[in-house]
Symmetry: C2
Subunit: 372 residues, 2 copies
C-alpha cells in the first residue's frame, strides 16, 4: 500500500491546506513538521519523548544510515522502525543532498555519484536504483527520489543540465521502486528561476507518484526570495497530492510556506539550535547562556506546556547549558520541538477555522528575532 | 529536624543492616546507593527518570556547585532541591575531596584550604565553617564535615598529622552547623591502618552527630585491602547511626561492604561507565561498542526491567554509542543506575529475610568481569 493523501480543507483566504497522509504507520495530520533523526535518533531525545511531543513522522538520512550501521543490518533487524523503536510514520531522504554537502571527493556521472564516506574514507556509489533499494531496505513509509541538489543560486546553465539529469534519475527511481510499503516522492528543483521550476515541475509530475517535493532551498538564498519562489512553485504541484518542502525552515518560513500550500516540512533547525542553546519561544529567540537568565526562576516560555517549561526554571536551564550537562541538550531539544510541533498544530486548527491569515499575523514575536 | 535513622533489622549471618533514614525529603530505605549529581544533574538523566528508577537520594558536589552556579544563587532560587527539581533526599559532600583531587595550586593550613578553581583559575578559601555554610545554603538533607582526604596508601606520619587536623576541623564544623534542616555527618579517615581507623573513629564519634562516614577509600588500594579495612572499620561506628562509605564502588564492593554493616554508598562508577559504554549486567560487564553486539536483536540484559532493556536492542544501543548519539548516554545511564539501584533493592530484601549471605554468593557473574 502506498501512502494516500486526503485533502480535508482548503483555507478560504490563503493557499493553506489541511490534509491527512495515511501511511502504513498511522495517519499524519498536515501541515506537519518532521523532526530529523539523521542517524537513527532525533538527537538528544528518545522515541518516548517524541511521541509525547506529538511528533507524527520523523526523518532518517539515507546517507548516514547506509554508511552506519548499513541498510543490510537495519533490514536484518526488522527495518528502521523496529531498529529505532519508532512505530509512527517515517521518511528517508535519498542521500543525494548529503553526498553533495558532506562527503569528500564526490564524482557525479550520468550513472550516479561516487563519493568517499565522511566517516572512514571508504568509497561508495549511489545511483537512483541503489538509493531506492537502500531506502526500501530501511523501510520508511515515504522515500525520496535520488536527485542532484544544486544550490538555489547556481548558474542557470549548470541548473538546466542538472535538472535534466535529475528528471532522468527520477524515471530510473520510479522504475526501480517496488511499489511496496515505501512510497516514492519526486523532487522538483530549479533554484529561484520560475521558468525552470515550472518546466521541472511538469517533468517530475508527469511521473505518477504518491507525493512531490520542492528541493534546493535554504542553501544560500534570502528568506524573502525563498518564500517568493515557494509561493510560485508549490501550486505547480498536483493539488490532490502531498507537497513537501525539503529542509525548511524557521518558524517564519513554516508559517509563510504553509500559506503557499506546503503540507510537509523538515529541518534540523529546532534540534541543532537546541544543542547550541538557542531556544524558540512565544516571545522570540532566547540565547540561554546569557547572564540575564542566571537568576530567573520563571519558565523558559510561560506560553509553553512542554516538559521543560512545565518543570524547570530558566536559571537551571542556563546552568545546565553553561556546565555542559548532557541534560541541557535533551531539555532544550524537547522545548524547541514542542515549539515547532505546536506551531504546526495551531496552524492546522487555524486552517480548519478558515482563519489562517489572522493566525499567521497574530504570531508576532514568536516568528521574530532575539529577545535575550 | 535532623535526619533520624531507624535500624529495622540486623542480618543473622553477616553485619548487614536493614534501616530507614528519615529525612526532610522523605524516607530512604537502606542499604542505599546514591547516584552522583555533581553539578546539579545526575549526568545524562533527568529527575523524572531518577524517580522512575527508584533513586531515593542523590548527591551534589559542594566544590562544583560553589564555583558554578554558586551557593548564593542556589539559595536565592529556593535551594538545591527546588533548583534542580528533585523533591527526594539529597546529600552534599564537603568539597574537601575535590579540592585535593581537582583544583590547582591548593594550599592547606590549619585554617582550611585555599585553591584555584579548575574552571577559571579564581582563588577560593574553603574552611570547615565555610563548607558547612555553603552546604546549608544549598540545603541538602545530609551535609558532610570538611576533612582532608589523604590517599589510603599515604605515609603513616602524614596520615597521623592529617587525622588530627581533620578531627579539629570536625569540631569546627560541628560548632558552625546550625542544626537546621541539614544534618551533619562526620568522616573517619585513617587509610588502611587499623589502629589509626580505630583512634580516629573514637575521636570522630565522640562528636554527637546524626551519622558517620568512612572516607579515603577507592583512591589506590586493592579491592581486597579496602574490603578488609571496611570490615574492620564499619563496626567502629555507632550501631544506631547510619554508616556511609564514601565514593564506593563496584557492585562487588557494594555487596561486600553491606555485609560489613555499611548503609549508604555513592559512586560515579555507574554513570561514568555508562557514558563510556561500559554496562553492568546480570551476566557481567558489557562493552557495548564491541562488534559482537552489532546484530544482536536481544535486550542488553534480559534480567533487567529498565526502560533501556524493555525497549531497545543491543544492536541499537551499539549503533547509538558508535555514532556518538546523545541518546546513548541517557539509555546507558538509565541501565547502569537500574543495575546498581536494583542490586541494593535486592540486598535490602535479602537482609529482611536473613538471607544476605546466600544472596551475595548467588550473584556470581553480576559481580564479575567482562563478558563482551
Amino acid at each position: 500500500m502506498t501512502v494516500r493523501f486526503e485533502l480535508l480543507h482548503a483555507d478560504r483566504d490563503t493557499g493553506a491546506r489541511r490534509g491527512r497522509l495515511h501511511t502504513p504507520h498511522g495517519v499524519v495530520e498536515t501541515p506537519v513538521f518532521m523532526p530529523v533523526g539523521t542517524a537513527g535518533s532525533v538527537k538528544a531525545v528518545g522515541p518516548d519523548e517524541l511521541r509525547e511531543l506529538g511528533a507524527q513522522i520523523i526523518l532518517g538520512n539515507t546517507y548516514h544510515l547506509m554508511l552506519r550501521p548499513g541498510e543490510g543490518l537495519v533490514r536484518e533487524l526488522g527495518g528502521l522502525h523496529r531498529f529505532i523503536c519508532w512505530d509512527r510514520a517515517m521518511l528517508t531522504d535519498s542521500g543525494g543532498f548529503q553526498v553533495f554537502s558532506l562527503s569528500e571527493k564526490r564524482n557525479i556521472t550520468e550513472e550516479g555519484a561516487t563519493f568517499q564516506s565522511h566517516l572512514d574514507g571508504s568509497r561508495h556509489l549511489l545511483t537512483p536504483e541503489r538509493s531506492v533499494e537502500i531506502q526500501e531496505a530501511l523501510g520508511a513509509d515515504v522515500i525520496m527520489a535520488f536527485d542532484e541538489c544544486p544550490p538555489s543560486l547556481a548558474e542557470r546553465a549548470y541548473l538546466e543540465a542538472s535538472l535534466a539529469r535529475t528528471t532522468r534519475w527520477l524515471q530510473r527511481c520510479a522504475r526501480a521502486w517496488s511499489r511496496g510499503a515505501s512510497s516514492l516522492f519526486g523532487i522538483v528543483q530549479g533554484g529561484l528561476h520560475e521558468d525552470l521550476r515550472r518546466r521541472h515541475a511538469e517533468e517530475v509530475c508527469s511521473v505518477d507518484l504518491p507525493g512531490y517535493a520542492l528541493g534546493g532551498y535554504s542553501v544560500g538564498e534570502s528568506p524573502e526570495a525563498m518564500h517568493q519562489s515557494v509561493a510560485f512553485s508549490a501550486p505547480l504541484l498536483p493539488r490532490e497530492k502531498p507537497r513537501y518542502l525539503m529542509g525548511v525552515g524557521t518558524p517564519k518560513d513554516l508559517v509563510t510556506c504553509v500559506a503557499a500550500g506546503v503540507d510537509m516540512f523538515d529541518c534540523v533547525l529546532p534540534t541543532r539550535c537546541a544543542r547550541n542553546g538557542l531556544l524558540f519561544t512565544s516571545q522570540g529567540r532566547v540565547t540561554i547562556k546569557n547572564a540575564a537568565h542566571a537568576r530567573d526562576p520563571g519558565p523558559l516560555d510561560p506560553a509553553c506546556a512542554c516538559y521543560t517549561c512545565r518543570t524547570f526554571s530558566r536559571a537551571y536551564l542556563r546552568h545546565l547549558f553553561v556546565a555542559k550537562e548532557i541534560l541541557a541538550m535533551r531539555l532544550n531539544t524537547i522545548h524547541n520541538l514542542a515549539f515547532f510541533l505546536g506551531l504546526m498544530r495551531r496552524a492546522r486548527e487555524a486552517i480548519e477555522r478558515d482563519e489562517y491569515r489572522s493566525f499567521a499575523s497574530s504570531l508576532g514575536p514568536a516568528l521574530g528575532g532575539e529577545v535575550g
